[in-house]
Symmetry: C2
């Protein structure tokens, strides 16, 4: 006998949670597709050298890496972006740019196990490859907005920044060589606060005058003509900063023309997105009432996605929706059910089980998800089953129902019962 258990940091999803997860995915996929993003799939397992070159040292430690049967050095993917870069390079002759793809799949990171952090988790990425147009960046914002609206989430803010502004500003301060470290520290400002950021910056041997300027820089937040006027000064520091601000201006122009509610997006110079490959506009999305959950959709523009695999330059922009964070955010508002069935047919006599199956078939033909209890257990037990699983209606079927053609359906939420003389009418009541 083996003990039934999952690995530390891994977990099962039971029907209740999986139904919520799949519902979220279905809705965001509908949005992705409405913009012309197409699905692709890549393997969970890759040659290790595909994955590790671009990954940080930390990622290397966390990699599930081993030798396969053919003594190949292989590893489980830890994100879907490097596999996308590999995919684009490998199939370059089969795909047409611009290439818009989404991918929903699991990735693996052997992080230290901690609450709410898993070693296998689902990523939901969408990327727009092969276009330099700021229109594509605007579309990413549109997709985020429409996805959240589809999930009935209306209180959120998409925070925008541009790595070019940061880079330009750092060069101006003569700190261009420390930019990666500065970004890493600044990225933590929400978590650790301004004072600790100052401390950490001074550990990088940055003089205090410059630290003050960095802090002033990362404190810039706002939207609208006035805000853009107030950050006009940063354009003077370098050509790169100027270009970065102008790109944000044009992005906001497009968003404004699309009549996206202004409370949904805001420039925030503290948004850095630690990852090395971003080079342009970057995004984070916070739920206004649940900021502690963290960003539920982040991403940005990259200049050269495929640099490890090909000499051809491939730029693009993409983002990733945090499915698990969304589940956490929505869980309390969503009806808790363990079944996708609406109706449970209660089997009253064993001799009439065939008729029960027929009634179930008929209800299904009217588009009603219907489960037939598989045995003629005591009715009480079958009702209890429906209560536990979350069926909205129950409908006992036995000799008298079949002979008289009159069925009783019970609303399991309010206990109301109704006598109905045709299956079609039952379907109508349920669909109301």
């Amino acid at each position: 006998m083996v003990e039934a258990r999952t690995l530390s940091g891994f977990r099962d999803r039971l029907p209740r949670e999986t139904l919520i997860k799949h519902d979220i995915i279905e809705k965001v996929v509908r949005v992705f597709r409405s913009f012309g993003f197409a699905p692709i799939e890549t393997p969970h397992l890759e040659y290790a050298d595909i994955l590790v070159k671009q990954g940080s040292e930390e990622i290397q430690k966390e990699l599930y890496r081993f030798r396969d049967h053919g003594d190949r050095d292989v590893a489980l993917r830890f994100d879907q972006t490097i596999p996308l870069a590999r995919f684009i390079s490998q199939h370059r002759s089969d795909i047409t740019l611009p290439f818009k793809r989404y991918a929903i799949g699991n990735v693996f990171r052997g992080e230290r196990a901690q609450k709410g952090r898993y070693r296998e988790f689902t990523q939901c990425d969408f990327d727009f490859i092969g276009s330099d147009s700021i229109g594509s960046d605007a579309e990413i914002v549109q997709v985020i907005k429409e996805s959240l609206y589809a999930l009935l989430i209306k209180d959120f803010t998409i925070l925008l920044n541009n790595r070019k502004i940061i880079n330009g500003f750092a060069s101006y301060l003569g700190l261009g060589d420390k930019i990666e470290d500065i970004l890493r520290v600044v990225d933590k400002i929400e978590k650790i606060g301004i004072d600790r950021v100052k401390e950490e910056l001074s550990l990088l041997e940055i003089e205090s005058g410059k630290i003050e300027k960095i802090i002033e820089f990362v404190s810039q937040k706002g939207i609208g003509a006035e805000f853009f006027k107030s950050i006009e000064c940063y354009k003077d520091f370098s050509e790169e900063s100027k270009q970065g601000i102008e790109e944000l201006e044009f992005l906001c122009e497009i968003l404004s023309s699309l009549e996206i509610d202004k409370r949904h997006y805001k420039i925030d110079f503290s948004i850095a997105r630690g990852l090395g490959y971003y080079t342009g506009i970057v995004y984070e999305t916070l739920l206004d009432k649940q900021k502690d959950i963290g960003s539920i959709c982040s991403g940005g523009r990259y200049d050269n996605l495929t640099q490890n695999f090909s000499k051809e330059k491939t730029s693009g922009v993409g983002a990733s929706i945090g499915i698990d964070r969304l589940i956490a955010a929505l869980e309390d508002d969503i009806e808790q059910k363990e079944t996708p069935a609406i109706v449970l047919i209660i089997v009253l006599q064993k001799e009439f089980i065939k008729e029960c199956y027929r009634v179930g078939e008929k209800l299904r033909s009217f588009g009603i998800n219907t489960e037939v209890f598989p045995e003629a257990l005591k009715a009480k037990k079958q009702f209890a089953y429906a209560n536990k699983k979350g069926h909205c209606y129950t409908m006992p079927v036995g000799e008298s129902e079949i002979k008289n053609g009159i069925f009783t359906i019970k609303n399991m939420k309010n206990g109301e019962q109704q006598e109905v003389s045709s299956i079609e009418d039952i379907a109508k009541i349920i669909k109301k």
Copy 2:
């Protein structure tokens, strides 16, 4: 520079194929749900001892097994049935029986690479746990039928058998101890033919008289009252055979009462399903016009799914849809597209790109999947892009369209163009 490549036996799915795959999954999921099957998810990675005990020796050789960071002996799942058994045992107190679940996920087998066989592939399983009722077996047949109908497949036959009949018959012949080997050989009858089956049976040291009887037995196929009369004799051989035939009779009674077309199911005593855990009725499904593809949905009843993990007995019945075989079967009939977008908006002037995005937004609000080309490239190039990707309509938008409010949409299949004066009317034309 690293060469962009996938591991041998692994592959990417490009948009064209992924769109077909996801379309198939969406349709079968709708059917699963209509019967009350709920989704669950289990990890791709498990403790190796969870997976290998029940697996055959062959599976052990094919297992992707390694030591993780914590020196745990882990492996990638090679099916979804053993993880289901582990799941049921582990969450026994959180789930209510009967438990109907589906699971669509990838599994890994380090088989020798060969055409059409992959080391990572998708399984689409549905199981009905905790019910001994033949009604549940009937429901599996119903689900197979409805799934194929949902995919517009109408020429198929579900082959039915019962392991009890085979077991009883083997005992009667005094070959009960060789039953596993006999099943393994008989299972290959379609592939290798009767003569080679005879040969292989004689290698098992079965005398020729008994071999003849086995061949006669496995040649029984048919449906309806007459057929059941013709196999009546097998009831006399053993109590187990008798029970097995009676179960099939009752199953067919339910299917007949459900008015499932009789050409869709047939008893076939040669169907054995090699896998060790089946103990009752077993299924295979062949496409009448593409039998060479093999069974596209197989399964059966098992008496004790969780025997390796728990003393509690858990019976059930389940089947698995072969997604890749279905893709192969359907590929030629399905429109080949690389995008889920219906319309491509052709951007005529850079200065009007904001307006193009607005038109796209408007079309989407009418439920039309719309892609906006991200740059004002030459119109010819944008048309070529639509041709390549498979957009059904193109719609050039520039200064004159915006100023006059008159748009031209082009049907990309027949080349027809139409002038339309409102976005709403365009949506109507497309939806027609």
